[in-house]
């Protein structure tokens, strides 16, 4: 083996990366402290946004009195996270979640994320792994009803029941449910006036994310799965999406990763089993996949289904191969 490669600190080589990192990373500073003029936070105008900057602006809600440059900056920041449509602008954003139910009613859970109210839609969006948890067009919404329910601790909480004209409903949680409902009403009645602006937002996101696209004929199973990645310190659980495709095999990918971090054809899986252990989903079952390249530890609320499926296909493949050889 040759000499160890040396990292470079040469400014000519690193400048774009340094600019990128100093505009996008850094420790989070309490939003209330940031400088404001007439209630408009004045950070990074014309510069790429820090997340903190964006959220400050969104916290103030309405953009009616903001100038075009500020709104363009905000749009650009938001569209890095949530894919916006042409001409769509964000009115408010707050922490929240969507109550998800399996279509057959067998499983239900709150999925946390952020609620975005835009001039076009309500979106429940999760940043990591990146996913639109739920969304509805404002014109499809018949009404938004506040519902009070008791949480496990006995404390009362308001939820938002969104009823659509087509009879569909969704239950959302939000940091400020009353305010969100009022803003939805205003947005629907057009009281939120946002002048049309030149140039739509950049809508990176879905097209770029989708990549090759899944073939519905061969994609057999898909779901949220955690993968335990080995690090030099302690291993960490990473959230992502696992797929089993009859042509491509098993894969696991985190939303922000460029490519899947696990790819295994059915024939490459030498063992599939479930083991007890602690996982981020709280249950005690870990799915273990073994192959010649390594051992993979995965967690999901559907470990049993994954284990059955993968065990089945890996066995089947080996038998097929044996048959082929013996003929």
């Amino acid at each position: 083996m040759g000499e160890a490669m040396q990292p470079t600190r040469d400014v000519r080589a690193t400048l774009p990366d340094l600019v990128d990192v100093l505009l996008n990373k850094g420790v989070y500073l309490d939003l209330d402290l940031i400088i404001t003029v007439a209630d408009i936070p004045l950070i990074g105008v014309n510069l790429k946004a820090t997340i903190a900057g964006m959220e400050t602006m969104l916290e103030y809600g309405m953009m009616k009195n903001w100038d075009e440059r500020t709104r363009a900056w905000l749009r650009d920041s938001v569209s890095r996270q949530v894919p916006l449509r042409g001409g769509e602008e964000v009115i408010a954003k707050m922490a929240g979640g969507h109550y998800w139910q399996d279509p057959d009613g067998s499983f239900e859970t709150w999925r946390p994320g952020s609620i975005y109210l835009t001039t076009h839609r309500i979106i429940a969006f999760r940043r990591d792994p990146e996913e639109i948890l739920w969304q509805a067009n404002l014109y499809d919404i018949a009404q938004v009803v506040l519902q009070t329910e008791s949480s496990i601790g006995g404390e009362k909480r308001s939820r938002l029941l969104v009823e659509k004209h087509d009879g569909g409903t969704a239950l959302l949680s939000a940091a400020q449910p009353n305010r969100l409902r009022d803003l939805v009403l205003k947005a629907q009645s057009g009281t939120v006036e946002i002048e049309a602006s030149a140039g739509g937002p950049s809508t990176r996101g879905q097209a770029e994310r989708g990549g090759k696209g899944d073939d519905p004929d061969t994609l057999l199973f898909e779901g949220d799965v955690w993968y335990q990645e080995q690090r030099s310190g302690s291993p960490i659980w990473r959230g992502g999406t696992a797929k089993y495709d009859s042509d491509e095999g098993f894969s696991w990918k985190a939303a922000l990763d460029r490519r899947p971090a696990i790819r295994l054809k059915a024939t490459e899986m030498t063992a599939v089993r479930a083991e007890n252990g602690h996982t981020p989903v709280g249950n005690s079952s870990i799915l273990i996949l073994e192959s010649e390249t390594g051992t993979y530890r995965l967690a999901s609320d559907r470990v049993e289904q994954w284990a059955q499926l993968l065990h089945g296909v890996s066995q089947q493949k080996r038998e097929d191969d044996d048959d082929a050889e013996s003929q």
Binding site: V27, D30, L42, I43, G61, M62, S232
Partner: protein, 287 residues
């Protein structure tokens, strides 16, 4: 920027009126503090040098053992031509770098974070208040980053080299030679696409292994979305890794091996940097 209303009252769509205390007057000219980084308060101010546009720097320290590196900032945030912004960013980075080298750990702020006076307190009081309240989380993160460096690694594939052994690409190249120029251009496009597809497939196959090898030597690792990939190449992985200073050599050796194993690989290796990509303290985030 929109002018504030004369009476100072919020407009209908502004901040809710109940949040505004009577008599409160926020002038844009109240002195603010531009923040570069959070450091242990043991850091000596002598090592800091000067900040953006030669601004004199100072430390705002609190009893909990933390300090913020700042300069007094009375004007609006920095805003200007790209070349100026670039220079300011480098100057900001310089302050973070010197703080980091002297203290061995640092939590960098991103560019243009300015703390304002307000709610009857000066910017200094508000910043000190925040440091004090967040001291436990910030101190823990500073400790975790002690002796750690950020490295940036980009591995990409030269698409010609990646498709060197492909029959499909070889056939296209051969066919091209015998064709008239118009057809050659079409074939060149097809060849380009074919090579890129081959390189993409190869990259898909290499990514899990490269990621696993680098993750095993890193304490943390985050994917960078923006790659500075030259044309004619396909990116395999673009990451920032957090590693112990002593492990930089091991990571360098791993990259040397990758370069030797894969002739189509092009490797960019930057650093060591202050842990810019790993400074965030999620525990401090708003709910």
């Amino acid at each position: 920027m929109t002018e504030p209303a004369d009476d100072g009252m919020p407009t209908e769509t502004g901040k809710p009126a109940e949040d505004k205390k009577p008599g409160e007057n926020r002038k844009p000219t109240e002195p603010g503090l531009y923040v570069y980084a959070v450091v242990p308060s043991t850091l000596s101010p002598d090592v800091l040098g000067t900040g953006i546009n030669d601004a004199p720097l100072k430390l705002i320290a609190v009893a909990e053992g933390l300090a913020a590196v700042v300069h007094h900032h009375d004007a609006a945030p920095f805003d200007g031509a790209d070349a100026d912004v670039e220079r300011w960013i480098l100057e900001h980075g310089g302050v973070v770098e010197r703080s980091w080298e002297a203290a061995g750990t640092v939590l960098p702020m991103s560019f243009n974070v300015i703390v304002a006076a307000g709610d009857g307190s000066t910017a200094e009081q508000r910043l000190a208040g925040w440091l004090g309240e967040s001291a436990a989380e910030l101190t823990e993160r500073l400790k975790a980053l002690q002796g750690r460096v950020e490295l940036r690694i980009e591995i990409s594939l030269d698409q010609h080299a990646a498709a060197e052994d492909s029959c499909e690409a070889a056939d296209l190249r051969e066919e091209m030679v015998q064709r008239p120029p118009g057809v050659q251009r079409l074939l060149q496009k097809r060849l380009d696409k074919t090579e890129r597809e081959i390189a993409e497939r190869l990259a898909d196959g290499l990514y899990p292994e490269y990621r696993r090898r680098l993750a095993a030597l890193s304490e943390d690792l985050t994917e960078n979305r923006r790659a500075h990939r030259p044309p004619g190449t396909v990116s395999v992985l673009t990451v920032a890794v957090l590693a112990h200073r002593d492990d930089v050599e091991k990571i360098g050796l791993e990259l040397t091996s990758i370069g030797e194993e894969q002739p189509a690989a092009q490797i960019r290796f930057l650093g060591p940097w202050p842990p810019y990509s790993f400074a965030d303290v999620p525990e401090l985030g708003a709910g």
